[in-house]
Symmetry: C2
Subunit: 409 residues, 2 copies
């Protein structure tokens, strides 16, 4: 088989961690498989670089930040290649550019536009195990661009996709995808199987196991993903194109604490207002998720929406500018919110699931500020300090964290 | 003027050091000059990466080491670009590849084959200050290669050369080129002026101020080099095409402690023996400097030569292999040697200078193991523990470290 194995930062914290990963790769190679390894930066290397950058510039240029941060993954790819060679496995490191990963120009959250796996194929053909630096690619102009939070997953799956790999294994310090983040909900249990759509909703709702675009790539080419722990041999969770057989209404709960809510108060109720605001934000590459527009008196509207918290600094002047143009009264930025989502393909065609979510929250006196839904997901924006309590309440309401047999009773 | 300014690792140790360098660049830009900045890795960043690599692999692959070590300079270039932008100077970082630096395939000690400064020119044309990562380039195959010890000097001067810059300023923690290393000889004094040939001999003899190939580049295009301290405004030393006017016989003393002596004992005295040994070493990219061949009895020779200490691990198996082929008796590796050199274009046509060097050493009971000379240089291989004493004796013999007026008396 051709297997892509991705190892996250917590699996690469120290020289001993690197040696442990090399042994896992070696075992796979010795079983007769071809392996492409994708690595994140070592431990909290990236945070250290980010701190230094912020010490030097209030808002460092996004291009320079990417040039800087990408070095973390380049380092761990070279170190991993050395470690493999020391273990007798011929290996070669590849930067994103060397691995043929072409990205969009959105520094800090670039999308992969194209993967040309020629050099990787050449290496595999002569028995060399490629070790690819995750999280990065290069624009058509030759500048380094990074793929944003969880970008190394995307690198792994995009490469698996381009090479037509038999599977993509994502290794981290957790043993797969859980019904909820086990650091928050101790009774959460690992799931054996998920389908791509459920994983997509989980990923986009802030579950830090797999990145959204990564899952989309896997779904497109039907590459099965195995989410596993680096530190044991448990089977972990398989994400594939499984049919939705009889299933619990809610499979897992996701939490995203890295969002912010922005409100424009008292803007005129006129055509084109929303288009102006969201057009300007889109042009700056800022992703807007939930939107609420509420008519108030005197034909004035309040518009509120959520964005990633990291985009607030860039969004604020844009929104202020829109307010001046539109003649509204004020801008309110709230970074004390969180989004809790209940996800499950079993909720399709089952009425009443949303009602149970809302009931669970109200039983804990938790105020719901905004609501968003899809076919297989219900998201609520709530106060950040209520986040963990909200997860626990929904987790209990749907009997997650109990054994599968119990749920089916 | 178009000025290339290179800042070494000791000038970039911390966030505050970076801000200090940014102020120096800013001052130059505000005087109306165009500046290209070249940076080394921050402080002892490179040593940290090297330690990690050696922890993971006994002899890490040279390609992987280069991929790893080059990230240090890439980081400092991005951080410096951010720092300049924060100071209001539009700036952009360039990796060696992005700056158009094409190198040979000799990983770890690559030579610059070509500089295509198109992207740097484009940046300068629109008022952007380029910040180039020193020490690195890219081979025609697209692999990163580093330029070896002092390689950032080479980057700076090669870029100055390619851009036709008016001057190249090399900033470090010493105020120019001294008559000898002031950390060893406290009475050493900075030189105002040197010509390229003197600097070449100094550089090749291990004076750590400027790298040899860098000076060769500068000599080729007659780019004046200003060696200065980052931490004061002293004029430093100018290296240019100066005529050798009436000069002291010896201008400066250099010390190289990073060499090793290898001896092949009892090899047959037959044609082709030296060609075999030095041919094999050359093919592995190992540079041999001094060679001594001494006839012993029974038509057997002893051959001894010096190489860089870092090449010993690679050279040993090659030499052992030659010995087996030739049928010699044994190989002796001595890493406890040093090379002390007296340099001065004033020694041309002045007999007796070598005799004074030897007399100075013998006055300190220092045994000379090998001797090498050029028109303007006398080098002696001695025991490493005698190195500092040897420098002091020669420094005193030629009255260096006194004021120029005193020398001319």
């Amino acid at each position: 088989m051709l297997i892509v194995q991705k190892y996250g930062g917590s699996s690469l914290k120290s020289a001993n961690h690197l040696k442990n990963v090399a042994r896992k790769v070696q075992r796979t190679v010795e079983q007769g498989h071809q392996v492409v390894v994708v690595v994140s930066a070592m431990g909290d290397n990236t945070d250290g670089l980010l701190d230094l950058a912020e010490d030097l510039a209030q808002t460092p240029s996004a291009r320079e930040l990417d040039q800087l941060l990408s070095t973390g993954e380049t380092q761990s790819s070279a170190l991993m290649a050395m470690t493999l060679e020391q273990a007798g496995i011929p290996a070669k490191s590849f930067s994103g550019r060397q691995a043929g990963i072409l990205t969009s120009y959105d520094y800090g959250k670039a999308r992969i536009e194209q993967v040309d796996p020629k050099e990787l194929r050449n290496a595999l053909a002569v028995g060399i195990t490629p070790v690819v630096a995750g999280f990065q690619g290069v624009t058509r102009a030759g500048d380094v661009a990074t793929l944003g939070r969880g970008g190394s997953d995307l690198t792994a799956i995009a490469i698996a996709n381009a090479l037509g790999a038999d599977r993509c294994e994502i290794y981290s310090d957790v043993a797969g995808v859980y019904t909820a983040d086990p650091r928050i909900i101790p009774s959460a249990t690992p799931l054996d199987v998920l389908n791509y759509d459920e994983m997509l909703e989980l990923a986009s709702q802030g579950a830090q196991v797999l990145q959204t675009q990564a899952v989309e790539f896997a779904k497109g080419q039907q590459v099965p993903i195995y989410a596993r722990s680096t530190f044991n041999d448990e089977p972990g969770t398989v994400i594939h194109q499984g049919e939705s057989i009889e299933k619990p209404a809610v499979t897992a709960i996701a939490l995203n604490r890295h969002i912010a809510k922005i409100g424009l108060l008292g803007v005129p109720d006129a055509p084109g207002v929303a288009a102006l605001i969201f057009g300007e934000l889109a042009q700056s590459g800022i992703n807007v998720e939930l939107i609420i527009q509420a008519m108030s008196h005197n034909q004035l509207n309040d518009i509120a929406f959520t964005i990633e918290e990291q985009d607030v600094k860039r969004a604020e002047p844009i929104v202020e500018d829109c307010l001046r143009k539109l003649g509204g009264s004020s801008v309110a930025v709230d970074t004390h919110v969180a989004k809790v989502s209940a996800i499950g393909s079993g909720m399709v065609g089952r009425p009443g699931v949303a009602a149970r979510v809302f009931k669970a929250l109200s039983s804990g006196d938790i105020n719901i500020q905004m609501i968003g839904t899809s076919e297989i997901k219900i998201s609520c924006i709530i106060d950040r300090q209520d986040a963990e309590r909200a997860m626990t309440l929904i987790h209990e309401e749907f009997g997650l964290g109990q054994s599968a047999e119990m749920i089916e009773d």
